[in-house]
Amino acid sequence: MSRILRTTALGVSACCFLAVAVKPDAISARAKKLHFSSIVVDTHDDTTQRFLDGKFDLGARHTDGSIDIPRMREGGLHAIFFSIWIPSKITGQEAVNRALAQIAAVREQVRAHPQDLVLATTAAEVRAAHKQGRIAALMGVEGGHMINSDLDVLRHFASLGVRYMTLTHSGNDEWADSSTDTPAHHGLTDFGKQVVREMNRLGIIVDISHVSDKTFNDALEVSNAPMMASHSSCRVLCDAPRNLTDQMMKDLAAKGGVIQINYHVGFLSQEFRNAEKANPEINKAIGQEVQKRCGGDEACQLLEGDRLTREYVERGELPRVDWKKIVEHVDHAVKVAGINHVGLGSDFDGANMPYGMEDASKLPKITDALLTKGYSEDDVKKILGENTLRVMAEVERVSRERSKQPQK
């Protein structure tokens, strides 16, 4: 598998050499300096799935996947939200326990690498970690189905360090509609609204990636703290329902929130999405092959899905998407929502990465591209992490205020 990736990388080199006569990974000295002195935050990484076999060593450089400590170091990724995720169809107490097991797995990785990682639950802790030269590990729960309709469970997650929760995953949960399911609740149910309020009180960021437009609007109305789209891109550039419309981005920004751009090719590129829609057989075939190779192993499914997609691209059956698409989405979101409301939510280890952004080591390219586009250094810092940290601090402030009020 490493062979395939390396061959691919050579291909990229050759192509870009001819096209722009610059080595693709050549980063300007200014960009390097800026990137490695900024706090670079990624709000969505599915690497947690890889921890579950008990053998994966985050401290070693891997030839597959996108995240490990050496590549985070190389790419200057200083704060990472490890995603706690199980499929939407798993519900009830099993969902709770599997989520807890993943939280335990993340915390084990932090314990196993005390020189490199430190668990962070506040913006201040992320900054402190950065000062110490350690990577801040944070956690987000990707899907409200994992609380089993129980606010106590939400509180347990908060106690264990979870700092955002995506209200749904791909399927509706018991109290919120997803963007990729048939509406069942007309947005948020009354209990769903209670969940959002309790998240405000506990200081868990409300994440509206994955949710239906109506759920988004309901959450925006109910939430007393700014919200985050932890890994979503711009719908006007690629019409996936998972992406945010310009209006949604404006509304999110008006309440102080932030959209963290997702690097998944199917969310970045209209061309790719059209090709997927035109040949539904391809995704079906990929799905079947993934099932064959991985069975129920979710970590394997995610990585194999990415690998197989690339094989289709290599054969010319799916369009090739370049990493610069990420910068287009960032730039569009900045134009629509403003410079204070955009960040990075890669979806590494959980999606199909564009060419040139195979793993976390490639992140400095984003800084370089934004500087080349004429962004000021301060603005680039905001996109790299400062916007997310501001939202975190604001959510913490609201939580402190609301915890003082008596509980109902």
């Binding site: 107490q93 099993e94 709770v96 326990n97 807890l100 097991a101 939280i103 335990a104 797995a105 915390r107 084990e108 314990r111 196993a112 129980d150 106590d152 469970v153 509180r155 347990h156 106690s159 264990l160 360090g161």
Partner: protein, 407 residues
């Protein structure tokens, strides 16, 4: 009646003895004991007060007319470190057990937050010492029964992350991987998985608690554990022949590995005559609890209320002999005579057991210090018994955890 006579005789004899040998007056001892007690870390490793957090009638911050523990009485009794017990019926297993245990851990944290002027949550011996220096009560968590991890070692880590600092390997019933002292043996002690649980507890710095477990489970755990063990609330079988108590051999083996036995004040565990009478009347405390638990269909507050009613009723009927608080001292003294003063401490079982006369609640704790002083115990040994020994074991466990995690 009988209690008063006994007390009078004991104090008279003791006073006379001290007067003659050291010419120290009774009042002087009382004053010295008071001073010693209120300057020491007084640590209780087992309190079932957590169950009361779920009752609307209970307020930890106020003096309650019933029960054994609340902040005013802790202050009055100089109890400044407490392990709140996380406990659910041993027959609840799997994911529901995990969730219920988490609810209780959460309830402890919520109460600590609510009373943050008095309480501070502690995870280390050092934190307990710091709390004491600040005049605060250290709140800690112990999980009473391995069934609560739902047969999943990762949940043990979750409990550890949420601050649990010991776990009793079983409660009254065997769990999936360890035999209890009050159930029919099913695993011949610890299963292989049970041994893994013990090893992981060492790694996480969660003390292995062998109260409640069968003798075979105890010896298995002792062999596997790299850190000293605790018996969070057990007494001496030589003085009261109850399977929940520890034999002299067990106490010696525990001490040889640096562990500590924390004396339980439950009448049935400290007084042989009482235990025998109780067995005759109610078929034993375990059976009575089981019956009541079934009647209350899992409502813990109902269980403790009914147990209390049963106790009152049996007391009134005169069917049970009186048990004096001084029996607690006999158990402490037995351990000290057996293995020395470094391996014994206090694990009251307040709010989870029937207390002997004179130890009605935690406000009475200074009596223990005074009684030990009258027995001629050295101040430094009394401090060890009050809390120092347990803190030493905690530090040892922390050290082993650091070493294992560095590997």
């Amino acid at each position: 009646m009988r209690r008063i006579l006994v007390t009078l005789c004991v104090s008279a004899c003791l006073t006379a003895g001290f007067f003659l040998s050291r010419t120290v007056s009774a009042d002087e001892i009382a004053a010295r004991a008071k001073k010693l007690h209120f300057s020491s870390i007084v640590l209780d490793t087992h309190d079932d007060t957590t169950q009361r957090f779920f009752s609307k009638d209970f307020d930890l911050g106020k003096r309650n007319p019933d029960g054994h523990v609340d902040i005013p009485r802790m202050r009055e009794g100089g109890m400044n470190a407490i392990f709140f017990s996380i406990w659910i019926d041993g027959r609840i297993m799997g994911p529901p057990a995990v969730e219920k245990a988490l609810d209780q851990i959460d309830a402890v944290h919520q109460n600590v937050l609510k009373y943050s002027k008095d309480l501070v949550f502690c995870r280390t011996a050092e934190a307990v010492r710091r709390a004491h220096a600040q005049g605060k009560i250290a709140a800690l968590i112990g999980v009473e029964g391995g069934h609560m991890i739902g047969n999943d070692i990762r949940m043990l880590r979750v409990f550890g992350d949420l601050g649990a600092r010991y776990m009793t390997l079983t409660h009254f019933y065997n769990d999936e991987w360890a035999d209890s002292s009050t159930d029919k043996p099913a695993h011949n002690g610890l299963t292989d998985f049970g041994k893994d649980v013990v090893r992981e507890m060492n790694r996480q710095g969660i003390m292995v608690d062998i109260s409640h477990v069968s003798d075979k489970t105890f010896f298995d755990a002792l062999e596997v554990s790299k850190a000293p063990l605790i018996a969070s609330h057990s007494s001496c079988r030589a003085l009261c022949n109850h399977p929940r108590d520890m034999s002299d051999d067990m106490i010696k083996a525990l001490a040889a590995k640096g562990g500590v036995i924390q004396i339980n004040y439950e009448r049935s565990f400290i007084d042989q005559a009482y235990k025998e009478a109780y067995d005759r009347v109610a078929g034993g405390v375990v059976a009575a609890t089981e019956k009541i638990t079934q009647e209350c269909s899992g409502d813990e507050d109902c269980v403790s209320r009914k147990l209390k009613d049963l106790e009152t009723q049996m007391d009134a009927s005169g069917a049970l002999p009186r048990v004096s608080w001084e029996t607690i001292i006999e158990h402490i003294d037995h351990v000290v005579k057996l293995v020395g003063p470094d391996y014994v401490g206090l694990g009251s079982d307040f709010d989870g057991a029937t207390m002997p006369d004179g130890m009605e609640d935690c406000s009475k704790l200074p009596k223990i210090t005074e009684a030990l002083m009258r027995k001629g115990y050295k101040d430094e040994d009394i401090r060890k018994i009050l809390g120092g020994n347990l803190l030493r074991v905690m530090e040892q466990n922390e050290k082993v955890s650091r070493e294992l995690q560095a590997q």
